[in-house]
């Protein structure tokens, strides 16, 4: 388990665990994702793909038109912020340094260790193999959800993209599954922030 805040307080000169651009894009992304998922659930409810609907209390927009207005507004926030994040992640080498390499064997062993409560979280600047896999995976899911969303929005203008997903109806299912993957990530992500509280501090103040 994480120690108290006193025994991990770093020297003021130590480099930040998360640079400012990571922290800013993280929280903008958190907000945009929440609005996208909540309004997406409202839109889903207008014509559910599966035999269930999302409870009204967790949807955003009040009715279909409201859900769509929110979805296609938060979309811009998500896209602009996501682009800044990905470009800086690639340009600064952060993605390569932090997320690679991902070795399935290590992911397996770290996952087992995590469930057994044996995984250490001493150095937040170094990701364990499960973190690497999840962070890389959610970035991938973000790309899939954006591409499938574009295919649903513009199945005529971007018909080649829609065809890549197997057509309009198939793209709807991909869009839903990518949402489910991101929502599952968010649940694990938030649980871990409570398990390792200093990680929450690091994504707010950097240390």
């Amino acid at each position: 388990m994480a120690g108290t805040t006193t025994d991990v307080a770093p020297a003021p000169s130590a480099p930040a665990i998360h640079p400012l651009w990571v922290r800013v894009t993280h929280w903008i992304n958190a907000l945009a994702t929440a609005v996208m998922i909540g309004s997406g659930w409202e839109i889903y409810n207008a014509s559910p793909l599966f035999p269930f609907a999302f409870p009204k209390a967790v949807t955003i927009g009040g009715w279909l038109a409201g859900g769509l207005l929110w979805h296609f507004a938060a979309m811009w926030l998500l896209v602009v912020n996501g682009l800044v994040y990905v470009v800086l992640g690639l340009a600064t080498g952060r993605f390569r340094r932090k997320l690679l390499p991902i070795r399935p064997r290590e992911v397996f062993f770290d996952l087992r260790a995590a469930f057994a409560g044996r995984l250490a979280y001493d150095d937040l600047a170094v990701y364990n193999a499960v973190q690497k896999a999840l962070y890389a995976g959610v970035i991938l899911a973000g790309i899939v959800i954006m591409a499938s969303g574009l295919a649903i929005w513009k199945p005529v203008q971007l018909q080649a993209l829609a065809a890549l997903f197997g057509g309009y109806e198939a793209a709807r299912i991909v869009h839903f599954l990518a949402m489910a993957a991101i929502a599952a990530f968010v649940v694990v992500h938030i649980v871990m922030a409570f398990v390792v509280p200093k990680s929450l501090r690091a994504i707010i103040i950097g240390r």
Partner: protein
């Protein structure tokens, strides 16, 4: 001044009908759920705002999205077409009222009124519309709700009709008024798209009452609600006249 039948009165009447369908407290207040306040302050730049100003901000983004979609719209790109075997049978009725309440229009009395920035404002009989060159398309109708169905529509290209009435093709909008008080308007680029159709037939038969007899506008490059049924007037205009659902919050351009 060219005559355009203003939808304002119709809009008020029609909004009354739609109100029955909408969850009442949610109708004006779009922000629901726990995350709304944070999103709201970010989107509007205000610390505290009431529902109306949030809606105003969201609608401004929607108008911006109209511009983005107009820019994305390629006037020469055709909507995908499908084989006969892909046609959905039976097709789905959709409207803001029950199927039995759909307008019943007498073919003999029917006239399509023509208004706005056009040379020839004589109304059109059904016979005259049928005499225009006819085309058939098997395309996907995508509903704003998300579902889609492939159907077969036949009729005259709208651009052919616009040419015959001497429409000002530099005008911004083409407006449609319907017998059921529904109305909508589209951009001129979409009106001139080769697949935008004055539809008289559905699946090889005279357009059934459920699907818009005697005249529907079929636009495979736009969402279903931008494909008005029971059309009784076409007008060319530079004035933004919105639409039945558009005025309640659906995106106006709604291009596919």
């Amino acid at each position: 001044m060219p005559r355009v039948i203003r939808p304002s009165l119709d809009a008020r009447l029609a909004a009354g009908d739609a109100a029955k369908l909408l969850p009442d407290p949610a109708r004006r207040l779009f922000l629901r759920g726990t995350l709304s306040l944070g999103a709201l302050s970010l989107l509007t730049g205000c610390e505290l705002a009431d529902g109306a100003s949030v809606e105003k901000a969201l609608r401004a983004v929607s108008r911006f999205n109209d511009g983005v979609q107009a820019w994305l719209f390629d006037p020469n790109r055709l909507a995908p077409t499908y084989p006969e075997s892909a046609i959905a049978r039976p097709f789905r009725f959709n409207g803001y009222y029950d199927e039995e309440d759909a307008p019943e229009i007498d073919a003999a009395d029917y006239r399509l009124e023509v208004g706005g920035l056009v040379v020839d404002k004589r109304p059109w009989t059904l016979e005259r519309l049928q005499a225009l060159p006819q085309e058939t398309q098997i395309t996907r109708l995508v509903c704003v709700e998300g579902w889609s169905l492939i159907g077969k529509w036949s009729g005259a290209p709208l651009r052919e009709f616009l040419a015959r009435i001497g429409a000002d093709l530099r005008a911004k909008y083409v407006f449609f008024r319907c017998a059921d008080r529904y109305f909508s308007s589209i951009d001129m680029a979409t009106a001139l798209h080769p697949q935008t159709q004055l539809t008289l037939k559905f699946d090889g038969e005279t357009l059934p009452r459920s699907f818009g007899f005697p005249l529907r506008i079929r636009i495979p490059t736009k969402l279903g609600f931008k494909n008005p049924k029971y059309v009784v007037e076409v007008a060319v205009t530079n004035e933004y006249l919105g639409g039945y659902w558009e005025n309640q919050g659906y995106n106006w351009f709604s291009g596919l």
